[in-house]
């Protein structure tokens, strides 16, 4: 219960941090995908109810605090997390190379899907050059963000005292 509460608080803090951070102009004005990284981190490590809770909350916060229609995060976060869960037994989730590759994929997938949704619904016309810049930028940002978030959460979770087990000793 305590861990679940920590998880939810962490996601809220992630949303607040993502909003406070300035957009990075040379990377197409994108921001580090903290919420997406949090969702992916929990997808790779948590059991079913906690994973769904984390993913849906992160997606709701991302879409709810964003202008435009609900959807980009609600579609991409669960899709990406389900995919990650399918392969989580075949990869080293804590390995830096795995996290770099998954971070890049995460940034690319979320931005590409958002680009498609915004273009298809006519909410935003993105010039092709800016679109490519954003795709590249979010790939780089994903590569940087996921390892940092993952290590940060692991460190924070190690600080939470675990309940003592009184079994056979």
């Amino acid at each position: 219960m305590k861990r679940r509460a920590y998880m939810l608080i962490l996601i809220l803090c992630g949303a607040l941090l993502q909003q406070v951070l300035p957009p990075i102009a040379p990377l197409g004005g994108m921001k580090p995908p903290i919420l997406a990284a949090l969702a992916l981190h929990h997808a790779l490590r948590k059991g079913s109810p906690d994973f769904w809770m984390a993913v849906v909350l992160a997606a709701l916060l991302q879409d709810g605090l964003e202008l435009g229609s609900f959807g980009p995060a609600l579609l991409t976060f669960p899709a990406m997390s389900l995919l990650a869960r399918r392969i989580r037994n075949e990869i080293f989730s804590d390995g830096i190379v795995t996290q770099l590759v998954m971070g890049a994929g995460l940034g690319l997938f979320v931005t590409f899907t958002t680009l498609i949704i915004y273009s298809a619904t006519g909410q935003r016309a993105i010039p092709p050059a800016l679109g490519f810049l954003r795709l590249g930028g979010s790939m780089l940002l994903g590569m940087v963000t996921l390892p940092i978030i993952s290590r940060g959460i692991n460190w924070l979770e190690s600080l939470i005292p675990k309940p003592r087990e009184y079994g056979w000793q």
Partner: protein, 277 residues
């Protein structure tokens, strides 16, 4: 069986999501967003307060901020403005008396709602900020948002406790404007063009008459058409170009009010035209 159920649940959820994404239901979307934004607003307010304090402290430590000097300068400006306000109040009272005497139609002054900025855009796809007042404070869509530096943008998606402000540098923000020249005024349409690689917000005034000479540093202000007040500073002309069609010219402008870190803004609520008794 369980697997099949799981699969069908995922399929149904995917269909619902696709409907949510591609079928526009603005009022329902806004209600949902209102719930999310309303619940997060107190935390956002606290975070923005802490962030502001940290920025101020950082600036004070670096000695760049010059808080004391700025404070003194603002105090002097406040005194000057209060004097000006008193003079204008007298003038307005005279004006109202004369209008009544002549049985003219009179227009109430616009209402300015002061708002604090509680957060910025979460993903970088839009150039927006969120203010800590919403429809309960009388804020509606498409109202002008100004700061002491000039036009900031316009309101959009008001929820009961918060409102999004689409900055003038966002491509979705369009405002009727005019360039103030020495002997005349030339009209055009200001549209945001995002940020440059340095992160500076940019906008463009389009559909300017090609026969009129527009120069760098000419002032661009709102024209007063629509719900926006007249004569609000937007920025200065940076570069002038000829339109591809050759029929018009356009000019790049740097919107001054969105360059710095904004803390407080005012939402301008236009008053309805009032008929005297």
């Amino acid at each position: 069986m369980v697997f099949r159920n799981k699969k069908s649940i995922i399929a149904v959820a995917a269909v619902v999501l696709l409907v949510v994404v591609f079928v526009p239901l603005p009022s329902l979307t806004l209600r949902g967003k209102g719930v999310v934004r309303g619940s997060v607003a107190p935390a956002e307010r606290a975070t923005s307060g802490i962030w502001r304090r940290l920025s101020e402290a950082g600036a004070a430590i670096r000695g760049i901020g010059g808080t004391a000097e700025k404070n003194m300068e603002l105090s002097r400006e406040l005194i000057r403005l209060q004097t000006e306000l008193n003079r204008l109040r007298d003038a307005e009272a005279d004006n109202v008396r004369l209008h009544r005497a002549l049985n003219f139609y009179r227009k109430k002054p616009d209402t300015m709602i002061p708002c604090d900025i509680v957060s910025r855009n979460i993903s970088g796809w839009w150039s927006t900020v969120r203010i800590g007042k919403g429809s309960r404070a009388g804020i509606d869509s498409d109202l002008a948002v100004i700061s002491p530096d000039g036009l900031v943008g316009k309101t959009t998606e008001p929820t009961p406790f918060t409102t999004e402000v689409l900055l003038i540098s966002d491509p979705a923000c369009q405002v009727s404007a005019k360039i103030k020249l020495k002997d005349k005024e030339v009209y055009g349409l200001v549209r945001g063009t995002g940020s440059n690689l340095k992160g500076e917000p940019r906008a463009r005034i389009e559909f300017i008459n090609k026969d009129i000479l527009v120069s760098v540093n000419d002032e661009v202000v709102t024209s007063g058409l629509g719900a926006f007040p007249k004569g609000v500073h937007i920025g200065y002309v940076d570069e002038v170009y000829r339109d591809k069609s050759g029929l018009f010219q356009y000019a790049e402008i740097i919107p001054r009010a969105t360059v710095g870190l904004l803390d407080y803004v005012f939402v301008v609520v236009p008053s309805a035209r009032e008929v005297p008794e």
